[in-house]
């Protein structure tokens, strides 16, 4: 691959939008060409700088205004929506009799994981224990759960641990670990593979990926534990995160 080709594809490469074959060719080229390596490093520095730009969160009064508008427009259709929600909640609580297939079980858990993620973000209750130190976060769960969740710090690859809390999935207490990627929050729900999470071991043993209402959900089992990672982070980066967490 020539320097011209590398220059043409450099952005797509750094944005992880290039196919595997071309990406390998670029990496090979980097091994031989200091100038292109420098160019890539410069682009990466620029990316880091751009991400240091302010993130503008919606002010509280705007949120309140939008919510007031929503309430005013409460419609029959929405009332029906809530009724469906109520029925679903009851059936979920009643042992999942409605959902037979492993995949729909997975979907239901993914849905619930997204709900927990959203609830924690909106209620501003992300942390029971706020610490970037895995040796503080892990012992905090002692005595609160009947298992000890693995807690890894991934700050070396840009996903710092920021804390944890007790949460519930399928009516069972689970560990929720909170990671940060720039302005994006990642919630990782951890519970033992079998107990309380039936059906997860067969069809869903492989890592699976879902998209629920704009959030990405990754699921995998590892070392006797079930993991659900939820974030609005883009899929490529969440995949990188999940892989690093699954294979420490």
């Amino acid at each position: 691959m020539s320097c011209e080709q590398v220059e043409r594809d450099l952005d797509a490469y750094l944005d992880r939008e290039l196919n595997a074959e071309s990406a390998t060719a670029i990496r090979d080229h980097f091994g031989r060409c200091a100038a292109c390596r420098r160019q890539a490093a410069e682009r990466e520095t620029l990316s880091r700088l751009i991400r240091s730009a302010p993130y503008y969160s919606a002010p509280d009064h705007l949120r309140a205004r939008v919510m007031a508008q929503t309430t005013r427009r409460r419609s029959v259709r929405r009332a029906i929506g809530w009724a469906v929600a109520a029925v679903l909640t009851v059936s979920v609580g009643g042992g999942m009799s409605l959902l037979q297939l492993a995949s729909s079980r997975g979907d239901a858990i993914a849905e619930e994981a997204v709900n927990s993620h959203v609830r924690a973000m909106m209620a501003n209750h992300l942390f029971d224990v706020r610490s970037t130190d895995q040796h503080t976060v892990k012992p905090w769960f002692q005595g609160k759960l009947d298992f000890s969740p693995p807690v890894a710090d991934l700050s070396s690859i840009g996903f710092p641990l920021v804390g944890g809390r007790l949460d519930y999935l399928r009516g069972r207490p689970v560990a929720a670990l909170v990671y940060q990627r720039q302005q994006h929050t990642i919630n990782v729900f951890v519970a033992p593979e079998e107990a309380g999470m039936p059906g997860l071991n067969d069809a869903l043993a492989q890592a699976s990926v879902r998209s629920v209402r704009g959030f990405h959900v990754h699921h995998w089992n590892h070392g006797g534990m079930s993991f659900w990672a939820v974030s609005d982070l883009n899929d490529a980066e969440l995949t990188r995160f999940s892989r690093a967490l699954a294979a420490p």
Binding site: D11, A12, D15, E17, E42, R43, L46, S47, L49, I50, R51, S52, A53, P54, Y55, Y56, S57, A58, P59, L62, R63, R65, V66, M67, Q69, T70, R73, R77, R78, G81, W82, V84, A85, L88, E111, N115, V118, M121, M122, Q182, Q183, H184, S211, V212, R213, G214, F215, D232, L233, N234, D235, A236, E237
Partner: protein, 172 residues
């Protein structure tokens, strides 16, 4: 199938919507109007929302709301003062590092705000919101090739601007 309730679908992405609108308009008041307008539209169109990606869907509506606004008020797109607003300092840093960080943040912010909006928005959607090329193409309604060339040109301009700006004083 879970219920698709507006509050649960759209409101979690209100921060992202505001951030995008804020970078489009470059001031708080216009960004608030755009987001509020977008939410009214989103509610109106919600019954036709099929796609799973609510965030990208909301970005599209925010962009339309903004575009509608500037086409009604010609000249507003690049007018208006850039309101000075500093980021809260990071308490973990020592004073010198904090000063350096504030300095850098101010430089980057000003360089990004000075970028023409076509370049600015793809950079914000890619670098800050982490959208894929395909998602950006859908929001901005241009082919993926155009997204790529705008990203490349925008990044080149930023690189140049930040290099030029580095030895000078930070804008207040």
């Amino acid at each position: 199938m879970a219920p698709r309730v507006f509050e649960e679908t759209v409101l979690p992405h209100l921060n992202a919507a505001f951030n995008y609108a804020r970078w489009l308009t470059r001031n708080d008041a216009d960004a608030e109007d755009v987001v509020q307008d977008a939410c009214v539209r989103a509610m109106r169109y919600f019954s036709s929302f099929r796609d799973d990606d609510a965030r990208a869907w909301l970005f599209t509506i925010v962009r339309n709301a903004w575009y509608n606004r500037i086409s009604r008020r010609p000249g507003v797109a690049d007018a208006g003062p850039l309101d000075p607003q500093d980021e809260p300092p990071d308490g973990a840093l020592d004073p010198e590092e904090r000063l350096l960080q504030q300095h850098t943040v101010a430089l980057v912010r000003s360089a990004l705000e000075r970028l023409p909006v076509d370049f600015r928005e793809v950079i914000v959607l890619r670098e800050i919101e982490g959208l894929s090329y395909k998602e950006i193409a859908a929001v901005v309604r241009v082919p993926i090739g155009t997204v790529m060339s705008r990203l490349a040109r925008g990044r080149e301009r930023l690189t140049a601007a930040l290099k030029l700006a580095a030895p000078m004083e930070a804008p207040r």
